[in-house]
């Protein structure tokens, strides 16, 4: 391999891995936004997944795949527990409940012995490789593509557009919202497990309110019309801070500014409903001109 490629990889491989993880987190919040709910708890779910997977590989020597799966299942179960009473109500209730939940998870991690308290968990074996990330991301993208033209996908979209009309059409709206929330939690948990096994280290601070806002920004910036939106948004918002490192703590203000600007002036995000039509038109013109 050429010299410059190897050194590029040495410097930026973590960034690459992080782009994948952030993409998964964007997808995890996307599925709840797709049915009109706002979850601010996906960073906490990621944390639960990270700690679970890490503890399973460290203390029980489970094979990586199994750790990841359990790391996804536990947050999903928690999501079911929180979701069932909360999702009977309008989307703002889930936002508030998950905000509170995020704080609680942080406190629990801080105080449990097994999680290492405020020092976190150290020495997590390096297990994640690029091909793991490719496979998981591939599965997720396939899942979301299949979702679009399926019964489940249409139901989520109906709930998002008009929940009352959807209920009157015989849709068990709470049931589906809870499922979407739990699936999102599963995805976030798996992302957490993958993340823990290349950063070697997890601490309670990484999974609080700020990361939850990051994840929300991925989706809002990218657009919530299709699942490609959060993928675009997360990629931009992972690379951009790297280039803006010199801003220091003010870097976080960037997220806030982006959220505000997008909500106010570009409410459908970058990948919105016209994007696909525009892209199609662009290709048709190119073909005609060729």
């Amino acid at each position: 391999m050429p010299e410059y490629l190897t050194s590029f990889w040495q410097t930026y491989n973590t960034l690459f891995y992080t782009i994948f993880v952030h993409g998964m987190l964007g997808l995890s919040i996307y599925i709840t936004l797709a049915c009109g709910q706002l979850s601010l708890g996906n960073a906490a779910f990621m944390g639960i997944g990270a700690y679970t997977a890490a503890l399973l590989t460290i203390h029980m020597g489970l094979p990586f795949g199994l750790s990841l799966i359990f790391g996804g299942i536990l947050p999903a179960v928690v999501a079911l527990i929180i979701g069932i009473p909360t999702l009977r109500l309008s989307g703002v209730y889930l936002a508030m409940a998950t905000l509170g939940f995020g704080e609680v998870v942080r406190v629990v991690f801080l105080n449990m012995e097994i999680t290492g308290g405020s020092l976190g968990l150290n020495g997590i074996p390096l297990k994640t490789e690029l091909w793991h990330l490719f496979i998981v991301m591939g599965i997720l993208i396939y899942f979301f593509i299949k979702l679009k033209n399926s019964r489940f996908g249409r139901i989520l979209e109906a709930i998002n557009e008009d929940e009352v009309a959807a209920s009157v059409m015989g849709i068990k709206t709470t049931y589906f919202k809870v499922w979407a929330f739990a699936i999102g939690a599963f995805i976030a948990g798996v992302a957490g497990g993958l993340n823990a096994h290349f950063t070697f280290f997890v601490s309670p601070r990484e999974y609080g309110f700020e990361p939850a806002v990051d994840i929300l920004t991925f989706a809002i910036l990218g657009g919530t019309r299709t699942f490609w939106g959060p993928l675009v948004g997360s990629t931009i918002l992972t690379i951009l801070p790297e280039m803006l490192r010199f801003l220091g703590p003010y870097r976080l203000a960037l997220n806030g500014i982006i959220l505000l600007l997008v909500v106010l002036y570009l409410p459908n995000g970058i990948v919105n409903k016209d994007t696909f039509d525009n892209l199609k038109r662009l290709f048709k013109e190119k073909r005609r001109n060729a």
Binding site: A95, A97, L99, V164, N255
Partner: protein, 293 residues
């Protein structure tokens, strides 16, 4: 021992009520859940800190300055983030997300200026005298906090019930369309509500800063969580609910710390929130919201 805890519970709970009143009022009038209320709380705390450490103000001017600073912050947040969304028809989550953005910007700026360290008031700022009532020891600080909180809450109630502005606020909370038809300047009422509610949030901030003698840029998060728990517990948009809910939360936290464990104090509010969502999501004073066809 139990009775002694009452003092702590009152001090804690009355500040929670103060914070929650502003929070719930903004919801009731503007129909927005402002997740920037925690940031406003923090602004009030820092304003108070600066008033004391840099300008040597005494306690009452300090509290007033905190309220002024946070009231101004609330006005700006409304102007920049919430007001533009009023004119157009947006997704129901948009205003909430706009307040999240505002909060993030504010906290980041404060982090840049003040860093992450914990600041304290000068040692003797509040003399450490204590008094006894019916066998309960109350420090001067606790008396001040309880007194100020209750005073402000009484002012709020009088404001809402006895003044012209208060009537306008209640009318807009009931129905902004009808209020507009009656000639009430709805936009001014919105701004007024934001300012007053944020001022109360800032007062809660400086009082909390004094109570725990700790001020830092991330103090907005935990209080926001408690505010959310209180307004859902008390009923969203309901002032009485905010007051009672705050006191209930204060007592619950203090009792759980005293008799169970102090590690999980932050979890108490979430536990209460979850419990209420299970049993009566509309809260103690809330009416069940029915879906319309």
């Amino acid at each position: 021992m139990f009775f002694q805890q009452i003092a702590n519970a009152l001090a804690l709970g009355s500040v929670y009520s103060l914070f929650a009143i502003g929070f719930t009022l903004i919801f009731g009038v503007l129909e927005v859940i402002t997740l920037a209320h925690g940031a406003v709380f923090m602004i009030g705390a820092f304003a108070g800190l600066i008033a004391v450490t840099k300008f040597n103000f005494s306690i009452i001017p300090t509290i007033l300055i905190s309220m002024l600073a946070s009231g101004l912050a609330g006005f700006i947040i409304d102007l920049v983030a919430v007001k533009p969304l009023r004119a157009r028809k947006f997704h129901h989550l948009a205003p909430m997300i706009a307040t999240i953005g505002s909060a993030t910007i504010i906290i980041s700026i404060y982090q840049g200026i003040f860093g992450a360290e914990v600041y304290r008031f000068p040692f003797d700022f509040v003399p450490s005298d204590s008094y006894e009532f019916y066998g309960i020891q109350l420090t001067l600080l606790q008396l001040m906090i309880i007194g100020t909180s209750f005073l402000l809450m009484v002012i709020m109630i009088l404001l809402l019930n006895k003044t012209k502005w208060g009537k306008a606020v209640r009318a807009v909370a009931e129905s902004s369309k009808t209020a507009a038809l009656l000639g009430i300047p709805v936009e001014k009422v919105y701004q007024f509500t934001m300012v007053i509610s944020s001022a109360f949030g800032g007062a809660a901030g400086v009082l909390t800063g004094l109570n725990f003698n700790a001020i830092h840029t991330f103090m907005g998060g935990p209080i926001l969580l408690r505010g959310i728990a209180v307004i859902i517990l008390g009923g969203m948009g309901d002032i009485r609910g905010a007051m009672f809910g705050g006191l209930i939360l204060g007592f619950s936290e203090v009792l759980s710390v005293a008799y169970i464990s102090s590690d999980f104090r932050d979890a108490v509010s979430f536990g209460l929130l979850f419990f209420i969502l299970l049993i009566k999501p509309s809260g103690i004073f809330g009416k069940v919201m029915e879906r319309k066809g």
